[in-house]
Symmetry: C3
Subunit: 139 residues, 3 copies
Protein backbone atom coordinates (compact mmCIF):
# COMPACT_ATOMS: atom_id res chain seq x y z
CA UNK A 1 0.00 0.00 0.00
CA UNK A 2 1.23 3.49 -0.85
CA UNK A 3 0.59 6.43 1.46
CA UNK A 4 0.93 10.14 0.72
CA UNK A 5 1.53 12.70 3.43
CA UNK A 6 1.10 16.43 3.16
CA UNK A 7 2.40 18.63 5.99
CA UNK A 8 0.99 22.06 6.58
CA UNK A 9 1.07 24.71 9.31
CA UNK A 10 -1.54 27.04 10.68
CA UNK A 11 -1.51 29.56 13.50
CA UNK A 12 -4.40 29.71 15.93
CA UNK A 13 -5.28 30.73 19.47
CA UNK A 14 -7.25 28.69 21.95
CA UNK A 15 -8.05 28.26 25.62
CA UNK A 16 -8.96 25.07 27.48
CA UNK A 17 -11.65 26.62 29.64
CA UNK A 18 -11.89 23.78 32.18
CA UNK A 19 -8.12 23.27 32.59
CA UNK A 20 -6.72 23.74 36.11
CA UNK A 21 -3.61 25.66 34.97
CA UNK A 22 -2.26 28.16 32.47
CA UNK A 23 -3.84 26.36 29.48
CA UNK A 24 -7.09 28.05 30.51
CA UNK A 25 -5.47 31.36 29.47
CA UNK A 26 -5.80 32.41 25.84
CA UNK A 27 -2.64 31.22 24.15
CA UNK A 28 -1.69 29.97 20.71
CA UNK A 29 0.24 27.46 18.72
CA UNK A 30 1.81 27.10 15.32
CA UNK A 31 -0.06 23.90 14.65
CA UNK A 32 1.80 21.52 12.37
CA UNK A 33 -0.55 19.05 10.70
CA UNK A 34 0.39 15.90 8.78
CA UNK A 35 -2.39 14.37 6.70
CA UNK A 36 -1.76 10.86 5.35
CA UNK A 37 -3.98 9.22 2.76
CA UNK A 38 -3.73 5.84 1.11
CA UNK A 39 -4.72 4.44 -2.23
CA UNK A 40 -3.54 2.59 -5.28
CA UNK A 41 -1.18 4.02 -7.85
CA UNK A 42 -3.12 5.19 -10.91
CA UNK A 43 -1.20 3.73 -13.85
CA UNK A 44 -2.20 6.65 -16.08
CA UNK A 45 -0.69 9.32 -13.84
CA UNK A 46 1.77 7.11 -11.86
CA UNK A 47 0.38 8.88 -8.79
CA UNK A 48 -1.95 7.93 -5.95
CA UNK A 49 -3.19 11.52 -5.81
CA UNK A 50 -1.65 14.78 -6.96
CA UNK A 51 -0.05 16.43 -3.89
CA UNK A 52 -1.64 19.70 -5.07
CA UNK A 53 -5.13 18.21 -4.78
CA UNK A 54 -4.37 16.93 -1.27
CA UNK A 55 -3.05 20.36 -0.31
CA UNK A 56 -6.18 22.06 -1.59
CA UNK A 57 -8.40 19.61 0.35
CA UNK A 58 -6.50 20.46 3.55
CA UNK A 59 -6.84 24.16 2.75
CA UNK A 60 -10.63 23.84 2.41
CA UNK A 61 -11.19 21.34 5.21
CA UNK A 62 -8.82 22.66 7.87
CA UNK A 63 -6.92 25.86 7.12
CA UNK A 64 -9.87 28.00 6.03
CA UNK A 65 -11.61 27.03 9.27
CA UNK A 66 -8.85 27.15 11.91
CA UNK A 67 -6.09 29.46 10.59
CA UNK A 68 -5.79 32.68 12.60
CA UNK A 69 -8.96 31.80 14.48
CA UNK A 70 -9.63 31.75 18.19
CA UNK A 71 -10.76 28.17 18.86
CA UNK A 72 -13.19 27.82 21.74
CA UNK A 73 -15.65 25.38 23.26
CA UNK A 74 -19.14 26.77 22.86
CA UNK A 75 -20.18 27.04 26.49
CA UNK A 76 -21.93 29.79 28.41
CA UNK A 77 -18.68 31.03 29.96
CA UNK A 78 -16.95 31.51 26.59
CA UNK A 79 -20.06 32.92 24.93
CA UNK A 80 -20.26 35.56 27.68
CA UNK A 81 -16.53 36.45 27.71
CA UNK A 82 -16.27 36.79 23.93
CA UNK A 83 -19.71 38.30 23.25
CA UNK A 84 -18.08 41.59 22.12
CA UNK A 85 -15.13 40.02 20.28
CA UNK A 86 -15.40 40.93 16.58
CA UNK A 87 -12.68 38.51 15.32
CA UNK A 88 -12.80 35.03 13.85
CA UNK A 89 -13.92 32.36 16.32
CA UNK A 90 -13.97 28.64 15.50
CA UNK A 91 -16.49 27.24 17.95
CA UNK A 92 -16.28 23.58 18.94
CA UNK A 93 -18.63 21.29 20.87
CA UNK A 94 -15.68 20.23 23.05
CA UNK A 95 -12.61 21.87 24.50
CA UNK A 96 -10.11 22.57 21.69
CA UNK A 97 -7.53 20.03 22.82
CA UNK A 98 -5.29 18.47 20.18
CA UNK A 99 -7.26 15.23 20.62
CA UNK A 100 -10.64 16.83 19.88
CA UNK A 101 -9.26 19.00 17.06
CA UNK A 102 -7.95 15.80 15.45
CA UNK A 103 -11.39 14.17 15.59
CA UNK A 104 -12.90 17.34 14.12
CA UNK A 105 -10.36 17.29 11.27
CA UNK A 106 -11.11 13.60 10.53
CA UNK A 107 -14.80 14.48 10.06
CA UNK A 108 -13.97 17.52 8.00
CA UNK A 109 -11.43 16.04 5.59
CA UNK A 110 -12.86 12.54 5.02
CA UNK A 111 -15.85 13.61 2.89
CA UNK A 112 -13.63 15.83 0.71
CA UNK A 113 -11.38 12.96 -0.45
CA UNK A 114 -11.93 11.28 -3.84
CA UNK A 115 -13.78 7.94 -3.68
CA UNK A 116 -10.74 5.72 -4.12
CA UNK A 117 -8.64 7.57 -1.50
CA UNK A 118 -8.85 6.85 2.27
CA UNK A 119 -7.74 8.92 5.20
CA UNK A 120 -5.11 6.74 6.92
CA UNK A 121 -3.50 8.94 9.57
CA UNK A 122 -3.48 12.44 11.02
CA UNK A 123 -0.78 13.97 13.20
CA UNK A 124 -1.30 17.33 14.88
CA UNK A 125 1.68 18.95 16.62
CA UNK A 126 0.84 21.63 19.17
CA UNK A 127 4.53 22.20 19.88
CA UNK A 128 7.74 20.64 18.60
CA UNK A 129 7.58 18.20 21.52
CA UNK A 130 3.89 17.36 21.78
CA UNK A 131 1.61 15.86 19.18
CA UNK A 132 -1.60 13.89 18.95
CA UNK A 133 -2.31 11.44 16.18
CA UNK A 134 -5.20 9.44 14.83
CA UNK A 135 -5.08 6.25 12.81
CA UNK A 136 -7.77 4.52 10.83
CA UNK A 137 -8.54 1.45 12.99
CA UNK A 138 -9.60 -0.58 9.94
CA UNK A 139 -6.03 -0.92 8.64
CA UNK B 1 9.37 -6.07 17.37
CA UNK B 2 12.29 -3.71 16.96
CA UNK B 3 12.67 -1.49 13.92
CA UNK B 4 15.74 0.38 12.71
CA UNK B 5 15.49 3.46 10.53
CA UNK B 6 18.25 5.04 8.52
CA UNK B 7 17.66 8.47 6.96
CA UNK B 8 19.64 9.60 3.98
CA UNK B 9 19.48 12.36 1.37
CA UNK B 10 20.19 12.43 -2.32
CA UNK B 11 19.86 15.12 -4.97
CA UNK B 12 18.29 14.32 -8.30
CA UNK B 13 16.46 15.93 -11.21
CA UNK B 14 13.32 14.60 -12.84
CA UNK B 15 10.40 15.55 -15.04
CA UNK B 16 6.91 14.08 -15.07
CA UNK B 17 6.49 14.06 -18.81
CA UNK B 18 2.71 13.56 -18.86
CA UNK B 19 1.92 16.12 -16.13
CA UNK B 20 -0.35 18.99 -17.13
CA UNK B 21 1.67 21.68 -15.28
CA UNK B 22 5.15 22.79 -14.29
CA UNK B 23 6.14 19.32 -13.04
CA UNK B 24 6.69 18.43 -16.72
CA UNK B 25 9.65 20.84 -16.66
CA UNK B 26 13.02 19.44 -15.58
CA UNK B 27 13.32 20.23 -11.90
CA UNK B 28 14.93 18.59 -8.89
CA UNK B 29 14.56 17.68 -5.28
CA UNK B 30 16.73 16.99 -2.29
CA UNK B 31 15.09 13.65 -1.73
CA UNK B 32 15.03 12.60 1.90
CA UNK B 33 14.63 8.85 2.28
CA UNK B 34 13.84 6.90 5.46
CA UNK B 35 14.41 3.15 5.27
CA UNK B 36 12.96 1.08 8.11
CA UNK B 37 13.81 -2.58 8.61
CA UNK B 38 12.68 -5.00 11.30
CA UNK B 39 14.19 -8.02 12.95
CA UNK B 40 15.09 -9.62 16.22
CA UNK B 41 17.86 -8.40 18.49
CA UNK B 42 20.96 -10.57 18.06
CA UNK B 43 22.02 -11.39 21.61
CA UNK B 44 25.68 -11.55 20.58
CA UNK B 45 25.82 -8.01 19.23
CA UNK B 46 22.80 -6.56 21.07
CA UNK B 47 21.81 -5.13 17.69
CA UNK B 48 19.19 -5.95 15.07
CA UNK B 49 21.58 -4.82 12.36
CA UNK B 50 24.59 -2.52 12.42
CA UNK B 51 23.44 0.93 11.22
CA UNK B 52 26.58 1.02 9.08
CA UNK B 53 25.49 -2.09 7.17
CA UNK B 54 22.04 -0.60 6.59
CA UNK B 55 23.64 2.62 5.36
CA UNK B 56 25.86 0.73 2.93
CA UNK B 57 22.85 -1.23 1.59
CA UNK B 58 21.03 2.06 0.92
CA UNK B 59 24.16 3.43 -0.74
CA UNK B 60 24.33 0.46 -3.11
CA UNK B 61 20.60 0.03 -3.69
CA UNK B 62 19.49 3.65 -3.96
CA UNK B 63 22.16 6.36 -3.80
CA UNK B 64 24.51 4.92 -6.42
CA UNK B 65 21.57 4.72 -8.81
CA UNK B 66 19.64 7.95 -8.20
CA UNK B 67 22.07 10.49 -6.71
CA UNK B 68 22.82 13.39 -9.09
CA UNK B 69 20.97 11.59 -11.87
CA UNK B 70 18.25 12.84 -14.17
CA UNK B 71 15.35 10.43 -13.54
CA UNK B 72 13.12 9.90 -16.56
CA UNK B 73 10.44 7.60 -17.89
CA UNK B 74 11.80 5.69 -20.85
CA UNK B 75 9.37 6.82 -23.54
CA UNK B 76 9.96 7.99 -27.09
CA UNK B 77 9.55 11.66 -26.15
CA UNK B 78 12.26 11.54 -23.47
CA UNK B 79 14.56 9.33 -25.56
CA UNK B 80 14.38 11.92 -28.37
CA UNK B 81 14.83 15.03 -26.15
CA UNK B 82 17.79 13.62 -24.25
CA UNK B 83 19.46 11.67 -27.09
CA UNK B 84 22.46 14.06 -26.98
CA UNK B 85 22.62 14.40 -23.19
CA UNK B 86 25.93 12.94 -21.97
CA UNK B 87 25.11 12.97 -18.23
CA UNK B 88 23.78 10.33 -15.86
CA UNK B 89 20.20 9.28 -16.58
CA UNK B 90 18.24 6.86 -14.38
CA UNK B 91 15.59 5.48 -16.74
CA UNK B 92 12.34 4.13 -15.30
CA UNK B 93 9.47 2.17 -16.80
CA UNK B 94 7.04 4.69 -15.26
CA UNK B 95 7.00 8.42 -14.62
CA UNK B 96 9.43 9.21 -11.77
CA UNK B 97 6.76 10.19 -9.24
CA UNK B 98 7.54 9.66 -5.54
CA UNK B 99 5.06 6.76 -5.60
CA UNK B 100 6.84 4.90 -8.42
CA UNK B 101 10.31 5.70 -7.10
CA UNK B 102 9.24 4.14 -3.79
CA UNK B 103 8.15 0.93 -5.50
CA UNK B 104 11.44 0.87 -7.42
CA UNK B 105 13.38 1.28 -4.14
CA UNK B 106 11.43 -1.58 -2.49
CA UNK B 107 12.51 -3.90 -5.33
CA UNK B 108 16.06 -2.65 -5.20
CA UNK B 109 16.69 -2.81 -1.44
CA UNK B 110 14.77 -5.97 -0.47
CA UNK B 111 17.18 -8.49 -2.07
CA UNK B 112 20.18 -6.75 -0.46
CA UNK B 113 18.99 -7.27 3.11
CA UNK B 114 20.31 -10.13 5.25
CA UNK B 115 17.97 -13.14 5.49
CA UNK B 116 16.67 -12.43 8.97
CA UNK B 117 15.93 -8.73 8.25
CA UNK B 118 12.72 -7.49 6.57
CA UNK B 119 11.98 -4.22 4.87
CA UNK B 120 9.14 -2.76 6.95
CA UNK B 121 8.65 0.81 5.71
CA UNK B 122 9.99 3.39 3.28
CA UNK B 123 9.36 7.12 3.36
CA UNK B 124 10.45 9.36 0.51
CA UNK B 125 10.19 13.12 0.97
CA UNK B 126 10.20 15.18 -2.22
CA UNK B 127 9.94 18.40 -0.22
CA UNK B 128 9.68 19.21 3.48
CA UNK B 129 5.91 19.17 3.11
CA UNK B 130 5.26 16.25 0.75
CA UNK B 131 6.21 12.63 1.17
CA UNK B 132 5.15 9.21 -0.06
CA UNK B 133 5.51 6.08 2.02
CA UNK B 134 5.22 2.34 1.61
CA UNK B 135 4.49 -0.24 4.28
CA UNK B 136 4.87 -3.97 4.19
CA UNK B 137 1.22 -5.15 4.09
CA UNK B 138 2.08 -8.41 5.86
CA UNK B 139 2.66 -6.71 9.21
CA UNK C 1 -7.79 5.37 18.34
CA UNK C 2 -6.00 8.51 19.50
CA UNK C 3 -2.28 8.53 20.20
CA UNK C 4 -0.24 11.11 22.07
CA UNK C 5 3.47 11.58 21.48
CA UNK C 6 5.89 13.42 23.69
CA UNK C 7 9.40 14.13 22.37
CA UNK C 8 12.27 14.72 24.71
CA UNK C 9 16.07 14.86 24.54
CA UNK C 10 18.78 13.66 26.85
CA UNK C 11 22.56 13.65 26.60
CA UNK C 12 24.53 10.57 27.55
CA UNK C 13 27.79 8.78 26.89
CA UNK C 14 28.20 5.11 26.14
CA UNK C 15 30.56 2.54 24.69
CA UNK C 16 29.71 -0.71 22.93
CA UNK C 17 32.43 -2.78 24.52
CA UNK C 18 32.26 -5.73 22.10
CA UNK C 19 32.05 -3.60 18.91
CA UNK C 20 34.83 -4.11 16.36
CA UNK C 21 35.24 -0.40 15.56
CA UNK C 22 35.17 3.11 16.99
CA UNK C 23 31.84 2.53 18.80
CA UNK C 24 33.88 0.69 21.44
CA UNK C 25 35.37 4.09 22.35
CA UNK C 26 33.52 6.20 24.90
CA UNK C 27 31.36 8.58 22.89
CA UNK C 28 27.99 10.21 23.33
CA UNK C 29 24.74 11.18 21.72
CA UNK C 30 22.01 13.70 22.11
CA UNK C 31 19.38 11.03 22.31
CA UNK C 32 16.00 12.13 20.97
CA UNK C 33 13.19 10.01 22.35
CA UNK C 34 9.58 9.89 21.15
CA UNK C 35 7.12 8.19 23.49
CA UNK C 36 3.68 7.40 22.04
CA UNK C 37 0.78 6.26 24.19
CA UNK C 38 -2.77 5.42 23.23
CA UNK C 39 -6.10 5.62 24.96
CA UNK C 40 -9.62 6.93 24.75
CA UNK C 41 -10.54 10.58 25.00
CA UNK C 42 -11.83 11.37 28.50
CA UNK C 43 -15.02 13.34 27.88
CA UNK C 44 -14.54 15.32 31.09
CA UNK C 45 -11.13 16.71 30.13
CA UNK C 46 -11.36 16.23 26.32
CA UNK C 47 -7.87 14.72 26.61
CA UNK C 48 -6.41 11.22 26.46
CA UNK C 49 -3.77 12.24 28.97
CA UNK C 50 -2.36 15.61 29.96
CA UNK C 51 0.91 16.09 28.03
CA UNK C 52 2.41 17.35 31.32
CA UNK C 53 1.72 14.00 33.02
CA UNK C 54 3.30 12.12 30.11
CA UNK C 55 6.33 14.39 30.29
CA UNK C 56 6.73 13.78 34.01
CA UNK C 57 6.48 9.99 33.49
CA UNK C 58 9.29 10.18 30.92
CA UNK C 59 11.32 12.33 33.30
CA UNK C 60 11.00 9.73 36.07
CA UNK C 61 11.27 6.62 33.91
CA UNK C 62 14.00 7.68 31.48
CA UNK C 63 15.62 11.07 31.96
CA UNK C 64 16.45 10.73 35.67
CA UNK C 65 18.17 7.42 34.86
CA UNK C 66 20.02 8.11 31.59
CA UNK C 67 20.58 11.87 31.34
CA UNK C 68 24.26 12.85 31.63
CA UNK C 69 25.13 9.29 32.58
CA UNK C 70 27.76 6.97 31.18
CA UNK C 71 25.78 3.95 29.98
CA UNK C 72 27.69 0.67 30.17
CA UNK C 73 27.18 -3.06 30.04
CA UNK C 74 27.98 -4.53 33.43
CA UNK C 75 30.80 -6.87 32.48
CA UNK C 76 34.16 -7.51 34.09
CA UNK C 77 36.00 -5.37 31.52
CA UNK C 78 33.88 -2.28 32.19
CA UNK C 79 33.80 -2.84 35.95
CA UNK C 80 37.61 -2.89 35.96
CA UNK C 81 38.10 0.14 33.65
CA UNK C 82 35.63 2.34 35.52
CA UNK C 83 36.32 1.13 39.07
CA UNK C 84 37.75 4.56 39.98
CA UNK C 85 35.23 6.64 38.03
CA UNK C 86 33.23 8.75 40.51
CA UNK C 87 30.55 9.94 38.03
CA UNK C 88 27.06 8.69 37.20
CA UNK C 89 27.00 5.29 35.52
CA UNK C 90 23.83 3.65 34.21
CA UNK C 91 24.69 -0.05 34.19
CA UNK C 92 22.84 -2.36 31.81
CA UNK C 93 22.70 -6.14 31.48
CA UNK C 94 23.41 -5.76 27.74
CA UNK C 95 25.49 -3.48 25.55
CA UNK C 96 23.86 -0.02 25.46
CA UNK C 97 22.79 -0.17 21.82
CA UNK C 98 19.73 1.82 20.78
CA UNK C 99 17.87 -1.50 20.48
CA UNK C 100 18.58 -2.59 24.06
CA UNK C 101 18.04 0.90 25.48
CA UNK C 102 14.59 0.87 23.83
CA UNK C 103 13.69 -2.44 25.49
CA UNK C 104 14.91 -1.06 28.82
CA UNK C 105 12.74 2.04 28.37
CA UNK C 106 9.67 -0.09 27.55
CA UNK C 107 10.08 -1.92 30.87
CA UNK C 108 10.71 1.30 32.73
CA UNK C 109 7.85 3.42 31.39
CA UNK C 110 5.05 0.85 31.07
CA UNK C 111 4.40 0.39 34.83
CA UNK C 112 4.30 4.17 35.33
CA UNK C 113 1.40 4.76 32.93
CA UNK C 114 -2.18 5.14 34.22
CA UNK C 115 -4.33 2.00 33.91
CA UNK C 116 -6.32 3.11 30.87
CA UNK C 117 -3.23 4.25 28.90
CA UNK C 118 -1.04 1.88 26.84
CA UNK C 119 2.46 2.32 25.55
CA UNK C 120 2.06 2.11 21.76
CA UNK C 121 5.42 3.10 20.31
CA UNK C 122 8.90 4.30 21.20
CA UNK C 123 11.43 5.90 18.87
CA UNK C 124 14.99 6.53 19.99
CA UNK C 125 17.25 8.59 17.73
CA UNK C 126 20.97 8.21 18.31
CA UNK C 127 21.73 10.71 15.55
CA UNK C 128 19.59 12.70 13.12
CA UNK C 129 19.99 9.84 10.64
CA UNK C 130 19.73 6.71 12.80
CA UNK C 131 16.90 5.62 15.04
CA UNK C 132 15.50 2.48 16.57
CA UNK C 133 11.84 2.02 17.32
CA UNK C 134 9.60 -0.37 19.16
CA UNK C 135 5.92 -1.03 18.57
CA UNK C 136 3.42 -2.83 20.70
CA UNK C 137 2.82 -6.06 18.72
CA UNK C 138 -0.73 -6.40 20.06
CA UNK C 139 -2.06 -3.52 17.96
Amino acid sequence: MIYLTKKIEFEAAHRISNYPGTCSEIHGHTYYLEVTVSGKVDWNTDMVLDFKILKSIIQTGVIDHFDHALILKRNSENEKIFSSYPGKIAWMESEPTAEQMLLWIVSSISPLLPDEISLAKLKLHETSGSCASWKDNKR
